[in-house]
Every structure is written in structure tokens, then in C-alpha cells.
């Protein structure tokens, strides 16, 4: 019989050994699948590593993908820390993009010193406001925030689509005939392009730098401020928080808004760093908001770990894109990525729990060998 028990003490070496073991397990399992489908496992792994992180320009591309993952990952971590389940980073990111692009268009002839902070602030405000809706509903009417924040993602997506495809909105480019027939957004001026930091030949986007600052700020908030302490008490036990005189409702709205603001920065960065235009289809296809939930979960809601996980997942997803081709179907890429995530999460379990194989009592004596071998 297999039994899973909680570990009484979590040994420090496990924190290193388990992730390493998970990666090896993932390599092994995916190796089997690759071999069965007629691919060279080691070659595929080498290519995955190469395209994701080592090749010329791979790291820069990885940062491009990692930036929104970092910000939506932080958004999820900020809310989940308080056991408030904001699933709406997706929609909050859209709104951040809408806000930032709107301001960017409005201030097109201003200097970057003005435009860029204005875009960041616009992203924060719109993202926070969008997240505050499920926050207020949760706090004052006890509506389940998982459902409301999720539904608002669709609303946000349709809103973006409406702005570009179904209306003559401020965001839509109507200057040329082609643009009127094939709807697209107004491109932002060059002065609205966010700078990037060059470091050893790797371009780190401004949005990623903002994310690192946000990660540090989030850590500080949760570990060193009264606000964060109250949020942690609420997250641990709402009854205890009420008992301790903590105003839980305000805090729920505030934490949701904080979470939405982080996702909103992600949206602003998509506009300022990469797209320079409100692109409803591109943003919706990317689904950074949902991926952010995975990032936060893998990082165990630790803001600094979110930074690392975002980079790893960014690289993995880029490498996946470059792997797929005529002989390497997209489904197989997804399988490999899924296996890596699965092993990482399963390994997480092993840090906290241990698995014991125990012999059953006499009447079922033959059973354990079977289970034990499996």
C-alpha cells in the first residue's frame, strides 16, 4: 500500500534536490515519448535548451515572453497570498493595455519622459479598477471572485475587440482606406516606445525591470508592512482576522486592486515594450493572464521565485515554438511542456510530503508487491 504523509520537517537539501530531480524525471519521461515517436531525445533536449536560452538572441527573446508572465505571475501571487482567487489577470492585462495605449496615443507628441510614466500609471489605474470590480463584489456581496474575475476576462476581451473591430473608437486607426477596411489600432509614436537595458548582449525590456521592482515591492509589502500582515492574517483565517479587528472587506478590495495593477503594468508593457498598438487578437491568443497563474503556483507565491519561473517558462515556450515543424508536431511540443510542468508540480509535493510503501496486514499480503513495483 502506498501512503502519503506530511513531512514533519522539511529538510533544506530537498529544496535543491527536488527541483533537480523533477527536471531529471521530466527529461526521462519525455525521452520515452520522444523515442516512441521516433525522435532523438538527447538531440531534442539540446535543441530545447539551445533555442530557449543559449542560442544567439534566444535570451532576449525569452525576456520578451517572460515580461508579461512575470507581471501576471506577480498579480496572481499578490492575490493568492491572501487566499483571494483573482483569475482575472488576463482581463486586467487587457485593460492595462487599453489604458496605456489610450494615453500613449493622446500624448503622442510629448517627450518619452512624460509619455512612458503616464503609460505605466494608466496601466496601473485601469488594471486596478478592473480588478476592483470583483474585489468589491467579493467584499460587500460575498460573490465568488473566481467566477466574477473570470467572466470579466471575456468582457475585457470583447471590449478590446469592440474598440478596434466594431467601432470607430479613439484607439482605432481610421487614417487610411486600408485601415478602414481592415481594422487595426493606431500605432503609437516612437517616443512612446519603452527603452530596454542591454546587458551582455541581452536586451532586458523596461517592463521586465518594472516587474523586478514590483517583485521586491511585493515581498516588502507582505513581509514588512502592516498592510501585508493584515492580508496574511486574512489569507490564513478570516475568522482570526475579524477577531483581531482587521477590516477584511477593505483589504480584499485593496489586494484585488494591487493584483490588477500588476497585471495592468503587464498590459502597458505589451504596448510600450513590444506591440506599440492595441492588438486584441494577439493579446487574446497569448493568454498571459492564465499562464501567470501557473507561474505563481510554481513559484509557491514567492515574488522572487516568480521572476525565475517566468524566465524559465518564457524560454521553454519560445523553444517550443522553434522546435515545432514538419517533423515535430505542435502537440508533441505541448506534451513536452506539460510534462515539465507536471513534474515540477509533483516534485513540489515531495518537498512537503513523503511517500511510504507499507505492507498491508495479513489478509491482503500479496497486494503490496504489486503496488510497490509500480
Amino acid at each position: 500500500m502506498i501512503r502519503i504523509e506530511r513531512r514533519l520537517t522539511e529538510a533544506r537539501w530537498l529544496v535543491v534536490a527536488v527541483p533537480a530531480g523533477s527536471l531529471l524525471a521530466a527529461a526521462f519521461l519525455s525521452g520515452i515519448i520522444l523515442a516512441l515517436t521516433g525522435h532523438d531525445p538527447i538531440g531534442t533536449w539540446a535543441r530545447l535548451l539551445d533555442r530557449g536560452f543559449l542560442a544567439e538572441g534566444a535570451m532576449s527573446a525569452t525576456f520578451v515572453t517572460a515580461t508579461p508572465l512575470l507581471l501576471t505571475g506577480l498579480a496572481a501571487a499578490a492575490a493568492f497570498r491572501m487566499q483571494t482567487w483573482n483569475i482575472g489577470a488576463e482581463g486586467q492585462l487587457y485593460l492595462g493595455a487599453v489604458g496605456a495605449s489610450g494615453i500613449g496615443i493622446a500624448l503622442h507628441d510629448q517627450s518619452p519622459v512624460l509619455i512612458i510614466p503616464a503609460m505605466v500609471i494608466a496601466g496601473i489605474v485601469t488594471g486596478a479598477a478592473w480588478a476592483a470590480i470583483p474585489g468589491v463584489l467579493r467584499a460587500y456581496t460575498r460573490t465568488n471572485e473566481i467566477i466574477t474575475s473570470l467572466m470579466l476576462n471575456y468582457v475585457a476581451g470583447l471590449l478590446m475587440t469592440y474598440l478596434i473591430f466594431d467601432s470607430h473608437s479613439y484607439w482605432r486607426d481610421l487614417s487610411t482606406f486600408t485601415a478602414r477596411v481592415f481594422p487595426q489600432g493606431k500605432y503609437l509614436s516612437d517616443s512612446a516606445s519603452w527603452p530596454s537595458l542591454g546587458l551582455a548582449g541581452i536586451a532586458i525590456p523596461f517592463g521586465f525591470l518594472l516587474g523586478m521592482v514590483a517583485a521586491a515591492a511585493l515581498w516588502l509589502i507582505y513581509s514588512r508592512t502592516r498592510f501585508g500582515f493584515e492580508a496574511r492574517v486574512i489569507g490564513d483565517s478570516r475568522a482570526a482576522a475579524h477577531y483581531a479587528g482587521i477590516r477584511t472587506r477593505r483589504k480584499i478590495v485593496a489586494v484585488m486592486a494591487l493584483s490588477g495593477a500588476l497585471a495592468g503594468i503587464g498590459g502597458a508593457s505589451e504596448i510600450g515594450d513590444f506591440r506599440h498598438v492595441l492588438d486584441p487578437r494577439g493579446l487574446q491568443q497569448a493568454s498571459f493572464g492564465y499562464a501567470g497563474i501557473v507561474v505563481a503556483a510554481l513559484a509557491r507565491l514567492n515574488p522572487f521565485a516568480v521572476v525565475i519561473v517566468a524566465i524559465l517558462l518564457g524560454g521553454l515556450s519560445n523553444a517550443g515554438f522553434s522546435l515545432q515543424g514538419a517533423t515535430f508536431p505542435a502537440g508533441l511540443v505541448g506534451t513536452l511542456q506539460g510534462l515539465i510542468l507536471f513534474c515540477a508540480l509533483a516534485g513540489e509535493l515531495l518537498v512537503h510530503y513523503r511517500i511510504r510503501f507499507v505492507r498491508r496486514a495479513a489478509p491482503l499480503a500479496r497486494a503490496p508487491e504489486k503496488f510497490g513495483a509500480a
Partner: protein, 509 residues
């Protein structure tokens, strides 16, 4: 008792380990047919583990079990039920929206069970027989949520008997009963035992063990300390076996001259609703003076929680006024009550009294984190949180390996010390303590009681809400009895009689 027949239950050398704990350590335990055998021990002594082994919930790591002289092994609880072992749990396992009859046949197949269809008449008839035979009146068609706690317990016992149990295990069966209800239960148990059925009665209350059992086996730290005939022992000896040392319970010496003292708490015609929005408190008038301990006796569910919550601001009142040291409090705002010097020890220690995953150090500043020196300008000072914790852990001898340990890893007694340390160090004017010693072992109980008396001695008014009448009699200056949301009477301790209080608790006086 028939000496020539083999014992109903024989457990030999039972050992059970959990990670880090040796719950049962080579236990030898024997119960005769027709006997009421008490299993006495403090929390954590291994009583529950042993009964869980006997009911097939756990399997022993070592040792053997014999029923009526034949070796048995129970891979699953169902096997134990089939062998005639039935357990009446402390926390009832009944489906609230089902009827008594439905609960009895749940998960049980017999002649009354024709495929998918039940034969309610047959079941109801059998229930009527059983409840007549053992004097446990209960309506088979009533739904569980309509029944009182005492009645629900009867259903639990009937369920076990209905399934043909010859060996009944009752886990702390009186914990939620009034003295009269407990006496009724004892009569039922004697009737059951008279039919040569066997009863194992798990308890940590000495008086009831003396009242109901034929023999007592005392457990301490997973080991059997001894088995004695109830007739040849007394509570003092049992207490010593249970705790391992002489126990003299802390008692209040004399009452303060309350007339000269300031009023710490005054309730005037207070009413409030319960969880479901139905009235739970009616017209409560009560005063607690500074330095006085007022006990509120009563069976749980008669408005105790609402009373505590109205005073501490966790619940809004629907009428009346709550006056703390001369000033009315608005109500519905726990922070207001905290700032006015109301400390509160809730009965739900782990969920409400502490945040279980937060560290001991953090739990010790659960209320003080707003003020200097713990925080200034919205920023916490981890160093001061730590020194505060080290200081309080030492002063209240809190047994935690470090201030950083999550509160949930502490024992019940140590969690209660964390709560007391936090609440008492806030220099309150009024302390509301709900069941402050429930679930604690004898040693911790004594420490908590001592702290309460010491606190009252420093001029703090204490409202002690407890189901444990002995505790109230030991500590309180005055005793109010709460029944059905009303104060049925207030008596001075020296004038109090257990019988009279018991009748008031049952709403009969």
C-alpha cells in the same frame, strides 16, 4: 460478569507509531463481557488511537486483538462493525437533513433493505423497540437537525445497537450534555451492559468515570498505568495515575468586596441574532465588576457564542446596550472593543484565536501590530516582534521550539498560552474567556485557571463562559445560567448547588 467466559476484548502489546509520536506503546487492555470499562487519560494519552485500532480505523504496528477469545484483524472499519464493534463518536456522524430512521440504515444492508427501496415501517418498528428497551425516547421520523444534542447522541447509540454491536465504544460521550442528560445516558448504558454487552467509556472526567464504570484503565503517554476496580479507588488516586503527580486544582479563595468596585461590563437588555438570523439572545442584563469573575454556565448552543461576540464587537446586537467601563460601545466593530480594553479568548482557539499558519511570534502581535513599538508608519519591526515573542514565551512558559514555528504545530495547551499571553499582555480592563480549558490536559488547565485568577486579582473583570460546571464553581464569584438565549438566574458561588444549576441549564427551573 461471568468469569469463566473469555473476555469480550483482549488487546495485547498494541503499539502504534505516528511520525514523531509513539501513540500506543505496548498496550495490554482487557474488557469483560457485560462490563462498563472506563478508559481514562489526558488528551494525547492514546485513548483515541487505541479505540481507532479497535474499530478498524487504524491498524496497529504491533500487537494482537482478540474478541471473545478469538484473534481478529480489521483491515477496514466495516470489518469491525461486522464483528460487532460499534463506536459512538464525540462529534456525531449523522446526516442532518435525513430522518433518524434513514440515518440508521445509511451504509447498512439488511432485511429491511430491498434493493434500492427502503422499508421505512420495518426500520421504524425496530427503532421503537430499541428505544423502549434502553429508555432512549426518540422519534424515528424526526430529522436530525430538529433534535437536541442529547437526542442526536441517542441516535448515534441506537445506530450502533441497530447494527448489532456487542461491544460499544463511547468517546467522551458527556462532553455536550447537561448533568441530567448525562445521568440519563448512564442509566441507558447500565441497561445495555445488563444484557451482557460490553461498553468502553472513554473520558478524562474523573467524576463520571467514578459514577458509571465497573473498572478503569488509565493511560498516560501511550502506556497503560494500571487497571483498577472503580469501587476500590477514588478520584484522587485516578487523577494521580492520569497525571503522574499529585493534583490540587486551583480554586478561588475569597470573593472581592465587589460593592466598592467599578463596573467593568454592563449589559442592558441586550438581544442579538444567531448565525441563521434567528434570535439567539433575549433581553440579557448582566454586570461584571472590576476584579470579579462572573461565570456563565449552560450547555453549548444556548447563546454563549453570541453573548461573547456581542461584547467583543464581533456581532451586532439587535437591541440594548453594552457598556464597558462606563462608556457604551457601538457594537459590530471588534477593533473598537479591542481599543476599549476588551480582551477575548474565543472557544474556537485554532481558527479564530490564532491564525494557524502564521508563526507564534506573529500570533503574539495579532492585535498589537497596529501600535508602536511593533509598527510605526505602517511598517513592521521584525526585531521587536521577535523580542516581544521571546519575552512572552518565557513569561507564560509557552512550549514552542522557536518563535517562528507556525501556531498550528503547538499543542492545545500551548496555543491557549499564546492566546492568554497576547490578551493579558494588552492590559485589558475586561476579559471574556470562552471555554478556556476545554480540551486541555490537567496540567495546562491548572495553569490557565491560575492565570485567570491572577488576572482578576489585578482588577480585571472576567466573564467566564464555560460548559464545565466544575470550572465555574472553582473560579467564579457569581454564576449566571444561560438557557435558550436568556439568563435563567444569577447566584453567588457560595449559594450555588450543582443540582439547581443543572436544572436551570436544562431550562427546567
Amino acid at each position: 460478569m461471568e468469569a469463566d467466559k473469555p473476555p469480550a476484548v483482549t488487546m495485547r502489546g498494541i503499539t502504534k507509531r505516528f511520525p514523531g509520536v509513539l501513540a500506543n506503546d505496548g498496550i495490554d487492555f482487557e474488557v469483560l463481557r457485560g462490563e462498563i470499562h472506563a478508559l481514562l487519560g489526558e488528551n494525547g494519552a492514546g485513548k483515541s488511537t487505541l479505540s481507532n485500532i479497535l474499530t478498524g480505523l487504524y491498524r496497529p504496528d504491533e500487537g494482537e486483538i482478540l474478541l471473545h477469545g478469538k484473534p481478529v484483524s480489521f483491515p477496514a472499519p466495516r470489518d469491525a462493525i461486522e464483528a460487532g464493534v460499534g463506536m459512538v463518536h464525540q462529534h456525531f456522524r449523522l446526516a442532518a437533513s435525513f430522518t433518524v430512521a434513514e440515518n440508521l440504515v445509511l451504509g447498512h444492508r439488511d432485511a429491511a433493505d430491498r434493493g434500492l427501496l427502503l422499508e421505512p415501517r420495518v426500520v421504524e418498528g425496530r427503532i421503537a423497540d430499541l428505544s423502549r428497551r434502553y429508555r432512549m425516547p426518540v422519534n424515528p421520523r424526526a430529522r436530525i437537525w430538529q433534535l437536541s444534542v442529547g437526542e442526536q447522541q441517542r441516535v448515534e447509540i441506537l445506530k450502533v445497537l441497530y447494527r448489532g454491536a456487542r461491544i460499544l465504544i463511547l468517546d467522551e460521550p458527556t462532553s455536550q450534555l447537561t448533568p441530567q442528560e448525562a445521568e440519563q445516558l448512564f442509566q441507558t448504558l447500565r441497561l445495555i451492559a445488563a444484557e451482557q454487552r460490553t461498553i468502553i467509556f472513554i473520558s478524562h472526567k474523573l467524576e463520571e468515570v467514578m459514577a458509571v464504570s465497573n473498572r478503569v484503565t488509565v493511560l498516560r503517554r501511550g502506556k497503560v498505568i494500571g487497571t483498577v476496580m472503580t469501587g476500590n479507588t477514588n478520584t484522587r488516586e485516578l487523577a494521580r495515575m492520569m497525571v503522574g503527580r499529585e493534583v490540587v486544582f486551583t480554586k478561588k479563595k475569597e470573593g472581592p468586596a465587589q460593592a466598592e468596585r467599578q463596573v467593568a461590563l454592563e449589559l442592558r437588555r441586550v438581544s442579538a441574532n444567531g448565525e441563521l438570523g434567528t434570535p439567539a439572545l433575549h433581553d440579557i442584563n448582566l454586570q461584571v465588576h472590576a476584579g470579579e469573575i462572573v461565570g456563565v454556565a449552560g450547555v453549548a448552543g444556548n447563546g454563549q457564542r453570541e453573548l461573547a461576540e456581542v461584547i467583543t464587537g464581533l456581532r451586532r446586537r439587535t437591541a440594548g446596550s453594552v457598556i464597558v467601563t462606563g462608556r457604551q460601545i457601538r457594537g459590530g466593530d471588534p477593533l473598537e472593543a479591542i481599543r476599549r480594553g476588551v480582551a477575548y479568548i474565543p472557544d474556537d482557539r485554532l481558527g479564530t484565536g490564532v491564525a494557524p499558519s502564521l508563526s507564534v511570534a506573529e500570533n503574539l502581535v495579532l492585535k498589537a501590530f497596529r501600535r508602536p513599538p511593533i509598527s510605526t508608519q505602517g511598517l513592521l519591526h521584525p526585531g521587536r516582534i521577535r523580542t516581544n515573542a521571546v519575552d512572552l514565551m518565557q513569561r507564560f512558559s509557552i512550549g514552542a521550539s522557536s518563535p517562528q514555528v507556525p501556531a498550528r504545530q503547538l499543542s492545545g495547551g500551548n496555543i491557549q498560552k499564546v492566546l492568554l499571553a497576547r490578551e493579558l499582555s494588552s492590559r485589558p480592563l475586561l476579559l471574556v474567556a470562552s471555554s478556556p480549558t476545554s480540551g486541555l490536559d490537567v496540567g495546562a488547565t491548572d495553569i490557565v485557571r491560575g492565570l485567570l485568577l491572577e488576572t482578576a486579582g489585578r482588577g480585571v473583570g472576567i466573564l467566564l463562559i464555560s460548559e464545565d460546571l466544575d470550572e465555574i464553581l472553582a473560579l467564579a464569584d457569581r454564576i449566571a445560567v444561560l438557557y435558550d438565549g436568556r439568563i435563567r438566574g444569577v447566584v453567588e458561588r457560595q449559594d450555588a448547588h450543582v443540582e439547581e444549576l443543572g436544572l436551570m441549564m436544562a431550562g427546567a427551573a
